[in-house]
Structures are given as structure tokens and as C-alpha cells.
Symmetry: C2
Subunit: 457 residues, 2 copies
């Protein structure tokens, strides 16, 4: 990185933090109607910040729910184009009484800024804007490559508007790579690129037994029990060790790239610490897979919740007529969601116990995404990260999904650099969400360096 950019960022640190504080004070809670105006205010804040950073054609685009913001700077012919994505909406702050300081009054303690949205994602997406500003100020009012921005205000409520927008504006959004800062470092000081996100098939499975709840004294022993039928069905989905028994689930799996597996070995990870963090007596899952492979690169079958029958205080001797469970399968690259849904439905119909009827509702189905670690943008990002932190970059995967990354891949045909600077204990979606101030500056520097390096390739 040119020393100039570095110097500019250092000289402007306190202003960058002030600006972020102003942004964090806007309670842009996208899920609550009473904050609709605040969300709109946050959109205007972002648009203004983009303009001030030198981004052109900045638009606040109205949608069915909350505005999108777009803009670009496209005066570097022959150079690559990067599409920066982020979101300015935040999760609701409740339970309020668990916050040590008010969620929308940023407070500094121990080198962290505490506020809703500080890490997810205001603090991280604002780094993009400040990196652009720094590059422009130190490159004679120009940027070393082409930049597009697309920022949304519905990430915490499903992101429907951006999804529709991307499908309808492929040409406008055309780029070589997307840049998203909405993930975290594996541990403080470890340069981390997330190159894979699992997909998700989410199902509701309902079981019906007798036509109505029955008295177990009168019918117990002969009448089918919907709760028990569902229990029996779901228990068959995995063997004692946690291997999924549904035929076809382990077909089509791609094996992680050797570069990726090699980088996992450099992670400050021990099974013992992982177990302590989880707080259970043992781990589960496929015994022939490493723990990181299990959570990043293998499909899962999980029951998120189950309800049925009597669960109040005391004893009631009912044979329940109905029961329902929320079930998901995490998908890994090459698995086709529709094939997985079909396999699960077929398996359920084959394995439903006698006397029970089951119905399956598909609530969502999205594929995994995986970025080739040998892509030149990823290599540039990895190198920039390593240079700034003086440590080799590790490639990790996220077990969760960021749907927009899948849409950039499927609709725009571009990979995404997932370069995030959060920490595992930032408390996203929880009270006392925080973001480390040093990582805010680190992010601005690393992003600026990545863009410079990528432009120079």
C-alpha cells in the first residue's frame, strides 16, 4: 500500500470514528414499522457519505420495503470493477435491559464501540466508503479501479428488494468481483477470508395421528401418537454418530481445495476449546471428518424445534393428535437444493411410522456458494490481508448463508470477496453488540490495500 493512503487513514481516524457514531445513532431497525423513517434517514446518510467520497450517480432507490442505495465511479478503463455490498439496517435491540449502555448511543469501552449495528453491518460497510475516500484523496481525485456500490436496508428482514433488483439490473451491476464485509476474523489478528457459505433447506414437518387428542388411559397401547411418530421418524434421520441416513444426501459433494484444507491447519483452533465454547459434554457428528469440515464442508440435518401435545406444568395424559418440527439441512457446494428437498420428502414418505400421516412444507431452499481460492481477486485479497497483519491469510467457510452472495454468483456470475473484520465475540443480534475500533481502522486499510493491489495486477 502506498504510504500516502496509510498516512491519510491515520490522520483521519478520529473523524472516521465520529462519522460512524453519527451513523450508529440512527435506529434503522428494518423489522419494526415505527422505525421506517429512521431506516429512510440511514439510507440518506449512506447516500451522502458515498457522494462525499466521490462516488457518482448516487441514487436512493425506493422499493416495496426499504430503500437501496446505488452509485459508481467508472473512470478506470482496462481496470477491474469491484461491486461493494453492505447493509445499513440493523436487528432490533431488545431485550433493552440487557444493554449496559443504550443501543443507539455509541459508547467506547476497552477499545470497542458498543452499539447496535457497530459490527453488523454499519461499522463494516462504512469501511468501504472510507477506503474509497482515502484512495481518492491520495490518487489525485481518482480511483485505481472501477467501483460500484449497492447497499440495502432489508438484510435483517429477508432482502427481497435487493434480490429482485439484482435480477433486473444485471448489466448495471456488472463487475469482476463483489466485496462484502459482513463476516469475521477467525480470531483477533488472524487474516481471514471466507470462501464458502453453506446453503440451506428449511422444512416444517407436521405429523398427524388420531383425529383428535385422546386419553392415554383409554387408548394408550393401541392408538398412534403423533408426537411419538414424529420422534421415531426424525430419529431415523441420523445414526448414533451423527451420519445422515437419508439416501442421496452425501452424493454430489465437492471436496475442499487442498489450499483451503492446508490453511485450516494454521487456524488457532483446538477441539477442546471449541467444546468449551459450546459448553456441552461432547461433540457429535461424522467421526471421520474433522470438526471444521463438519461445520463448514459437510451437509447437516438439524431439528431446530419440536412442539406437540401437553407441555404445561404438571401431568396430563393425552395422546397428541398433531406434532410439528422445524428441520433444516445445510448444503455444501455442488448439492442441488431441489434434489435434496426431493430426497428428504421421499425419505419421509418411506419412513413415516404406521398410523401417522406426515406433511412437509419447504420454507426455503438455497444452494451453498464457494469461491475459488485461486481467483485473482481472492489471491489479491489474501495477499493484502497478509501484508497488513504480517501473518498468512487463512481460508475459512461460514456455516451460515448470506443469500446475496449466492445471487451475485448465480445472477451476475461473479465471485465475492468475503473480507470481514468482526470478532467471534462481537455479539451480533445480541445485547451489547460491539466492534473493535482497531479493526475498523484495520478494515479501512486492508480494503484500500486490496483495491490498490487488485488494480495493479
Amino acid at each position: 500500500m502506498t504510504a500516502a493512503v496509510d498516512r491519510y487513514i491515520q490522520q483521519n481516524e478520529s473523524r472516521f470514528l465520529d462519522e460512524l457514531f453519527t451513523f450508529l445513532r440512527i435506529p434503522s431497525v428494518s423489522t419494526l414499522p415505527e422505525h421506517k423513517k429512521d431506516v429512510a434517514r440511514a439510507a440518506e446518510f449512506v447516500a451522502d457519505a458515498l457522494r462525499q467520497a466521490g462516488i457518482e450517480h448516487v441514487e436512493v432507490i425506493q422499493t416495496a420495503k426499504h430503500p437501496l442505495i446505488s452509485g459508481d465511479w467508472l473512470h478506470a478503463p482496462g481496470k477491474p470493477t469491484v461491486l461493494c455490498y453492505g447493509h445499513y439496517d440493523v436487528q432490533p435491540p431488545d431485550p433493552l435491559d440487557l444493554w449496559d449502555t443504550p443501543p443507539f448511543e455509541p459508547n467506547i469501552r476497552n477499545g470497542n464501540v458498543y452499539a447496535r449495528g457497530s459490527a453488523d453491518d454499519k461499522g463494516q460497510m462504512y469501511m468501504h466508503i472510507k477506503a474509497i475516500e482515502a484512495l481518492r484523496e491520495t490518487h489525485g481525485g481518482r480511483l485505481p479501479l472501477n467501483i460500484k456500490f449497492l447497499i440495502e436496508g432489508e438484510e435483517e428482514v429477508g432482502g427481497e428488494s435487493i434480490s429482485a433488483y439484482v435480477r433486473r439490473h444485471k448489466e448495471k451491476l456488472k463487475a469482476d468481483v463483489a466485496l462484502v464485509s459482513d463476516t469475521e476474523l477467525f480470531a483477533d489478528g488472524v487474516p481471514t477470508l471466507c470462501i464458502g457459505l453453506r446453503g440451506l433447506v428449511y422444512l416444517e414437518v407436521e405429523a398427524a395421528g388420531p383425529a383428535r387428542d385422546l386419553h392415554s388411559g383409554m387408548y394408550g397401547g393401541a392408538a398412534p401418537n403423533a408426537v411419538y411418530g414424529l420422534i421415531q421418524l426424525l430419529a431415523r434421520a441420523k445414526d448414533e454418530k451423527g451420519r445422515i441416513r437419508i439416501p442421496g444426501i452425501y452424493d454430489d459433494l465437492s471436496t475442499p481445495d487442498p489450499v483451503e484444507v492446508e490453511s485450516w491447519k494454521r487456524l488457532p483452533f483446538t477441539e477442546k476449546e471449541f467444546l468449551q465454547h459450546i459448553g456441552s459434554s461432547a461433540l457429535t457428528g461424522e467421526p471421520d471428518q474433522s470438526v471444521l469440515a463438519r461445520v463448514w464442508a459437510r451437509p447437516t440435518f438439524e431439528v431446530h424445534g419440536i412442539a406437540g401435545g401437553f407441555t404445561g406444568a404438571g401431568a396430563k395424559t393425552v395422546i397428541p393428535a398433531k406434532a410439528v418440527a422445524k428441520v433444516s439441512l445445510r448444503l455444501v457446494p455442488e448439492q442441488k437444493p431441489e434434489k435434496v428437498v426431493a430426497a428428504v420428502k421421499e425419505w419421509i414418505s418411506q419412513n413415516t411410522p404406521e398410523g401417522i400421516r406426515t406433511a412437509v412444507r419447504v420454507l426455503s431452499a438455497s444452494p451453498a456458494t464457494l469461491v475459488n481460492p485461486h481467483h485473482r481477486a481472492i489471491e489479491a485479497a489474501a495477499k493484502a490481508f497478509s501484508d497488513v497483519l504480517a501473518k498468512e491469510t487463512v481460508f475459512v467457510r461460514g456455516g451460515g448463508s448470506i443469500p446475496i452472495v449466492g445471487e451475485f454468483a448465480s445472477e451476475l456470475g461473479i465471485p465475492t470477496v468475503l473480507m470481514g473484520f468482526g470478532l467471534p465475540d462481537d455479539g451480533l443480534h445480541s445485547p451489547n453488540e460491539k466492534y473493535r475500533i482497531a479493526n475498523y481502522y484495520l478494515g479501512i486499510r486492508t480494503i484500500a490495500k486490496f483495491l490498490e493491489d487488485y488494480a495493479a495486477l
Copy 2:
């Protein structure tokens, strides 16, 4: 039965019904504090009715909750003593809007009286009092045998007071047999004696996995899931066919008496109708046992309810930290509740999946009760029933438990004649509870005849 008794009952039918209506108009809902005075009023009504029937030493005994009523007539030396039990409290009537006529305003439709408590148990226990009155009026002011009464007002709320009273007054309550009319005919016109009630062990099983709910994207595949652990555990309790796999559960079982099994064959029972009544696609349970054996004479393992994780609308990808299930085992004669509890606890500790911790709370544990069908009181009751209805009496069992019957057996050492005149569709505990008026008169006649016959043995 002497023609005199029969004639007396016939001549007084309309008065007997009027008196029952007065009784039914008292809303003696034992579970609702606002009805405390009504419950007390119902107790006084019962005491007065006993006195008018010629019962002596009638007492309204105050307890921690609702009064007991006791009384006796003991002037038949050398003759057996019968202890009559019943309850004057009723279930709450709600949901009120589902009643066609007000629950505490008895209404006659199609030969039934509709009112809360008409069948359970005011209408049935009042038959005892009217049978005594009829005997006394037709036996020159005397009874053919000795009678004791013990009537409670807490049957619908656990019956703690009577349970304590029985333990403390064994001498006072000494009798040859108890008489309870709180059951039903197998079908209209079928003389039915219930000679067995299953016992019940009721447990709450709690499973704990991770220390807190986890994000399944980040931990799914390696972190234990409390809901799934509980599902896996409970699914192991029974095989595909419904046979319980917990070691020891099928030890100590007594086989039903041949007289009993023979009488089951006379029941108007078909598996097809039973299945239709239940409304499911198939029955479950031990394939080598008849359906009636399964619901009456075999132990069961039932999951009454399960709760854990996310079960709201939509999708949430949580790995639940906790889950809980309500589980019961119905016990049959010779099974010891404490042995069953120990066997289940041991089995749970052996079968809890790795990474899961389980805790078991015992909410109740009571043994089955079984009356020897060759006991002379049972034989007398069976014959009286057959004579009145001109059909052979069948011996059935109740799948549920009536705790006081167990206490009469264990504390007083006496069997109970369970001679009830309800019908399977009477709607106990439901809106529009009813009692067939013809069965009210039938009950008075049958009970009077049983007492006469038993005295004459």
C-alpha cells in the same frame, strides 16, 4: 330384587330426577376459588340427602381444601359392610360458548339430562343415596346390610384430602368392599363391571446439550442438539411395532383371568370401529396382543408432549440447548411403580446420546389395581347387573386410574366394585356433558339389587 323396591323406584322417578336437578344447579367447581362457597353448598346438599335417606352420623368434615362427607348405617350385624364413595365436585364448564344450554341449568333432550356433573359424578353418586332410600323404605325402615359413605369434593383437583383421611381413619372406614359409580357401560345396555385400572408413572425428561442456543450455521454438524438428543433417546424406547425396549418393563406382569378374557369376547367391539373412532390410518402396539389387551392389560410407554427450540412461524436456525418431554408408563397388575421408575431411570442414563445430559423428574407413580372377578361382592354385582339388563355381565378394565380405588386396596385392604352407568359418549370434562336418564334409574335399581343380593349371600 323384591318387587317392592322396584315399584318404589318407579313411583319416585320424577322426584329423584327433580332432586338431581337441584344438585346439578350448584356450580361446585372445585378448581376455581370463586366457587368455594358453591362447593360448600354442594357438600351440605349431599349431607342433607344422606340424612333424609336414613344414614346416621352424617358429618361434613372440613379439610385444607373442600369438605368430605361421611355417614353410616351399621345395624345389620353379621351382614357385610359396603363403603360407598363418590364425588360432588365437577370440572370447570369452559369453553362456555360450546354448550347448547347453560352447564348449571339441567336440560332434558333426547332422554338425556345435559349439565356439568350429570355423569361425572353427581348423577352417579346420587344413585347410591336413592338406592339406599329405596331399600330403607321397602325394608321397614332398615337396610339389609351395613353401609358407610365417604364422599369427596376434590376428585377433580387431585383428591389430597380424602387420601390423607383414608390413611388416618382406617378403623372408621373398615368395610368388606367399596362401591364406586364413576365409570361407564362398555356400550348402552351392556352390563359392565370394571375390575382393573392401570397404574401410572408420569415423568418429565429434560435434555440439555450446549450451554446456550447456538447458530446452526456456525456449529451445525459438530454441536450436540438437545432436541435431537431427546428425540433419539425417546425413539429407542419402543421398537417399530410398539413393543417397549426398556429392560424389565415386561417382567412381573400378571395374565388376565380366563373369566375376564372370555368376557371380552362378548363385548360389542371391532378393531375397525375402534380405528374409525380414533380416526387414524392404523393402530399401533404389540402385534401379539389383542387391542383390548393392549389398552387394558399391557404396560405402555407414551410421550404426551415435547417442547424445545424454535417453533414459531417461519425459520430460525437454532441448535437448541434444552428440550423437555412429558412421558408416562401405564402399569398393569403386579408391576411395582418404584421398580418401573428405577428401570426407566437406568435405561435413560444408559441410552442418553453422547453430548447430552438428561434429568428425570417423577411427577407421580401409582400401581395398577385389579379386583378378583371371583370375589363374592363382584360375583353378586355381576349377577345383579345381568339380572336387571337380562344380558351377561362383561368384565372390562379402565385404562385410566382412579387413585382412591388404589388407596382403598392398599390402606383399607378392600376391593372395589366399579359399577358405573355412564356411556362412552357422555362427554365428561367436555361441553354438553350429559347423562342418560334411563341409566340414572337403571343405576338406582341395579345398585339396590346388588346390595340386596350381596346381603343375602
